[in-house]
Assembly symmetry: C2
Homo-oligomer: 264 residues x 2
Amino acid sequence: MRVLAIINQKGGVGKTTTVANLGAALAREGQRVVVFDLDPQANLSLYLGSEVGRGEASVYGVLTEGLPIQQSLRATATEGLQLVPSHLDLSGAELELASTLGRETLLRDALQQWVADRLAETGQEPADFVIFDCPPSLGLLSVNALVAADEVMIAVQTEFFALQGLSKLVEVIQLLRRRMNPGLSLTGIIPCLYDSRLKLAREVLVELRKYFPGKVFQNPIRTNVRLAESPSFGQTIFEYAPDSNGAKDYQRLAREVLGNAAKT
Amino acid sequence: MRVLAIINQKGGVGKTTTVANLGAALAREGQRVVVFDLDPQANLSLYLGSEVGRGEASVYGVLTEGLPIQQSLRATATEGLQLVPSHLDLSGAELELASTLGRETLLRDALQQWVADRLAETGQEPADFVIFDCPPSLGLLSVNALVAADEVMIAVQTEFFALQGLSKLVEVIQLLRRRMNPGLSLTGIIPCLYDSRLKLAREVLVELRKYFPGKVFQNPIRTNVRLAESPSFGQTIFEYAPDSNGAKDYQRLAREVLGNAAKT
Ligand SMILES: Nc1ncnc2c1ncn2[C@@H]1O[C@H](COP(=O)(O)OP(=O)(O)OP(=O)(O)O)[C@@H](O)[C@H]1O
Ligand SMILES: Nc1ncnc2c1ncn2[C@@H]1O[C@H](COP(=O)(O)OP(=O)(O)OP(=O)(O)O)[C@@H](O)[C@H]1O
Ligand SMILES: [Mg+2]
Ligand SMILES: [Mg+2]
């Protein structure tokens, strides 16, 4: 089971769009995928057609009440793709958990329990891929994702502010690797919202390849209005516009991710 | 002195771009403006040409060590526009201050002290406008801005996820108005990154005017590549591309903001 965190504290760079559509693309390749919505805004949950009422099972219960992950799984319209949804209450979790011992490892512990339970029941791991959608911050929720994950993928918009926050993000990843998660590796940088007609975008892409040699995924995700429209129909890009650039780009990314299997 | 908070927990919607360029546009109208960078990513500080080294005066010192605001002011290239910069250390402030008594009113207290000091010295308030750039979350830094401000302006990208987070944001604003800041009013909603060719954008704008009648600023800020390029030169839109749509839109917004003086 590969566990990925899609992260960037810079907002609006394409994290949620990537988790929803990379998840769906991997499921289309026959993988069993579970995506987790760790953002209190619950954009991923809405994108995949799930709205959680107060008190219903969600990531909030998993982190604050020890709710088992298997009790918070939801099906989506895509076969092979399941979701652990978020809830607005999650925005209070950072302060609620501020004094809980081991608050950084709550998600890792829940994940390990879920895997152990499934292995005992079925002799198989519960999924081939787990993907965390992170909020635009480096607070407790993102830290939980980085501690629970084996691989990090940084979604980056090819615009000016993109480069500024990356050094801090890499610093935090290295710190967590040293202190809490020695197996954490940076699998790659995903250029999102790429428009090759913009000189700025081309320049930022060149800079990214310079700073992170060998780490930037070959195919940027191009800006494509179908990707911006698909969430309003609660559909992934493959359901909404299967022949669009958005669908092609995410399918290609899925193949690249499959090709570079993590150092298991 | 009008004190505005530009806020939205949704990331990448144009908050920083609005604070930098609305601030500059108000200064061009002869107002004395001070903008505060409350985002640990320090995008606003970079946009206005300020990089803060560790230990140098910044918002971090104001919130955690009681550094007077007048000691952290920096000039910018625009006459009449000053900046209180951010620093990456600010990302630790939320946890550092988690158990500080009155942690929500630290910014308000600092602001009131600054105004009192200046009135005593010069008989005049230190500025005509103070504008807070908020991070993409509703954590302690954004709460400090909402408690210290008299007016809230919500920057909204005209895309699908925009509407989902607004109800939570309005809830938080109402809560803070009841509990900590009775004078806080919602001055308006600023539609940003607007592209009238996209049906989705037009639909979202219609929804916004329906949900917030009389609160949506007349002129949306149109998507304009010059606005995306200007920060890479450390220049406001007025220095970088004074004849662009971006410059026109922000100047028009400034006139609208001046026209609807807060209920003083
Ligand atoms: N490749 C793309 N082409 C066009 N629009 C896109 C693309 N990727 C994302 N978008 C749109 O850009 C906006 C931001 O994307 P998204 O919400 O996925 O970013 P995010 O990083 O998850 O944001 P946040 O930081 O708030 O969680 C959304 O409106 C989304 O529909
Ligand atoms: N009207 C516009 N036209 C074109 N590009 C824009 C416009 N407004 C903002 N941008 C670009 O969109 C990106 C996001 O804008 P900005 O950083 O101001 O948003 P933000 O809400 O402050 O983000 P964060 O949530 O990370 O603080 C930046 O690359 C910016 O240059
Ligand atoms: Mg998101
Ligand atoms: Mg910003």
